[in-house]
Amino acid sequence: MRLVLEKRAERSTRMALLSPLIAIVLTLVTGGIIFALRGLDPLAALYVYFIEPLTSSWSIEQLIVKATPLALIGAALGVSYLANVWNIGAEGQLTAGAIFGSIIPVYFPEMQTPLTLVLMLALGIIGGMAFGAIPAFLKNRFSANEILTSLMLVYVAQLILDWLVRGPWRDPQGYNFPKTISFTNWQTLPSFQVLPPSIGPLYVNLGAILAVLAAISLAFLMGRTLKGFELRVQGVAPRAGRFAGFSREKTVWFCFLLSGGLAGLAGICEVMSTVGQLQPGISPGYGFTAIIVAFLGRLNPIGALVAAFALAISYLGGESAQVALGISDKTARVFQGILLFYILACDSLILYRFKLIGLSAAPVESRA
């Protein structure tokens, strides 16, 4: 007897809604077992992990902060991957964006007008695009594999950043520690109150708003425009795309500039908010985590928004579990890995159904 998946005639809408729930239930069960094995009360542990991050406006704000770069990058990566352009170097483009945007406060620290903010964000996008342009160029000109070049460029970007903050851009008053001057006023992102004090108060910074706008625009692009159709066709049926006269080269450029630009924006937003200066560590691997976000979001920009928030919960839940339960960071990471596995596996149920081969040929559904 063997378990196989069989393609459904069409994608199951029921499963599209049900699969995250199945995944969550499975994760809860597995998680409960893991926690029980570690000698913890499984229910309390699961509460700390999944519910507590949602129970205070502070931690909701933190969730949004954490989800912002993931959503910004993940939404654009999803579009690229749909079009079969494999940018996995978003982390490098994020770094490049942070560097470019920081040119303003480093060289013109006195400049403190609303224009500063706009310029920094624009430079961040340009930096990310410029760095994303390298693999795009190498792909189009030399057909060099973009997975490899974009990944290698991550290391290069990080070493450039390292060199800058330890050398020419170092804060003269900073005892030669590797960081630039601290960014202030218009060099940082403004925050807005989105919920009144009666039920909040809840503040979010400009970055989060930009992330939502970007996701909505990308969803519009993919769903309602010819460009979106073109990108989809290239992903699903590259040959058909060629016959339809769509330029592969242009698509590669478009995807890398788009995802590079948004990764750059995410980078400069981090520097202008949570970090507050340029320093060697500006991202805990957001560019890589966003790849998972893109797939969890089923390569859909709005999906990426949801996935980014879900992933942020799993990070912050892991953190609060460390504090509240004294479990190690490692347990949290293993748990996160398992959660991802379940979600990914259950997503297959949208397009496929289970089938046991051997005893009976009748399809057996949802035998998980």
């Binding site: 998946l5 060099a144 594999n145 990944l151 290391y155 890589f288 190690s328 490692k330 596995f341």
Partner: protein
């Protein structure tokens, strides 16, 4: 001067071997049409299991076996998800890395701060005493020879045997392979397990031969480099060996230049291996026919039989 050159060459060999071991496994996986980005995670688990087994039993050979077994087990998890459950390979691979690194940390909690058991160099008598050539050719540890033997074996099997033909067929056109009666999923499972074993072995090399100890994150991104090397080699085993050694050579030469005391920023020297890899790739990719001929056409695509 000869001594210096000798020590540089020996250092390059040990620096390159884990990269070669991990990437040759991934090469076979990708040739069968599967992209497993979880090499780093499998390496970490291989490293900690190899270390632990060697420490408990006192035998580095058992350590090596344990490292391989651990890598295979983790790759089976990946195989189940991507092959049976048809989950997305890229995302599953990344999640595997996350899981592997966390798992390795958990398993290794009690091994921190303990000196390990070192896999000794073979030092073949008489031959290894030959000046210069002796230590290079006959004085390495077992796994250096194993890594080269695997490369030779993979090269032979892939291009000279029917098994290789099947693996490549599965990777290039899984529907046709299926139509011919081959079990696409079965072949891919075996390839994924081979890749897992090699990654585990590479991890074991780190914790048993390279630096006999266990610390968290000791793989330090080598799994990612292994992945890049496979593409760099355009899925050709011997070119992979050249790539791995090239990468090792540039890293070590960077250190040597620093020690000589020339005033180049160390960040530039540290980024050299990556830049050179990109440049080399550009040069190689210029030859489009060759690249295209060797890229597995079904790489990363899930297989569901047409009915």
């Amino acid at each position: 001067m000869n001594d210096q050159l000798l020590s540089i060459i020996l250092t390059i060999i040990t620096a390159s071997t884990p990269l070669l071991l991990a990437s040759i496994g991934e090469l076979v996986v990708e040739r069968s049409g599967v992209l497993n980005l979880g090499v780093e995670g499998m390496m970490a688990v291989g490293a900690v299991c190899g270390f632990g087994a060697a420490l408990t039993t006192g035998s580095p050979l058992i350590g090596i076996l344990a490292a391989i077994a651990a890598g295979v087990l983790l790759s089976l998890l990946f195989g189940f998800l991507t092959l049976t459950m048809i989950s997305n390979q890229v995302a599953t691979g990344l999640a595997l890395t996350l899981l592997g690194l966390g798992l390795a940390g958990l398993i290794g909690e009690s091994f921190v701060g303990q000196p390990g058991v070192k896999l000794q160099n073979l030092d073949i008598p008489v031959l290894s005493a030959i000046p210069f050539i002796g230590p290079i050719l006959f004085g390495q540890d077992l796994l250096v020879y194993v890594s080269l033997a695997i490369v030779a074996g993979v090269s032979y099997v892939l291009f000279r045997t029917k098994t290789g033909l099947i693996i490549r067929a599965v990777g290039d056109s899984h529907q046709s392979a299926h139509a011919l009666g081959y079990s696409v999923i079965g072949v891919r499972y075996l390839a994924v397990m081979f890749g897992g074993g090699c990654a585990g072995l590479a991890g074991g090399y780190l914790s048993l031969a390279y630096t006999p100890q266990w610390v968290e994150n000791m793989t330090s991104g080598r799994g990612w480099i292994a992945l890049a090397l496979v593409v760099f080699a355009s899925w050709l085993p011997w070119r992979l060996a050249i790539g791995a050694y090239l990468f090792g050579t540039i890293t070590i030469l960077g250190f040597s230049l620093q020690a000589i005391g020339i005033g180049i920023p160390s960040q530039l020297l540290s980024s050299l291996p990556y830049i050179v890899t990109i440049l080399a790739l550009v040069v190689i990719s210029g030859n489009r026919a060759l690249t295209r001929a060797n890229t597995p056409a079904c790489l990363g695509q899930p297989f569901v039989p047409d009915r």
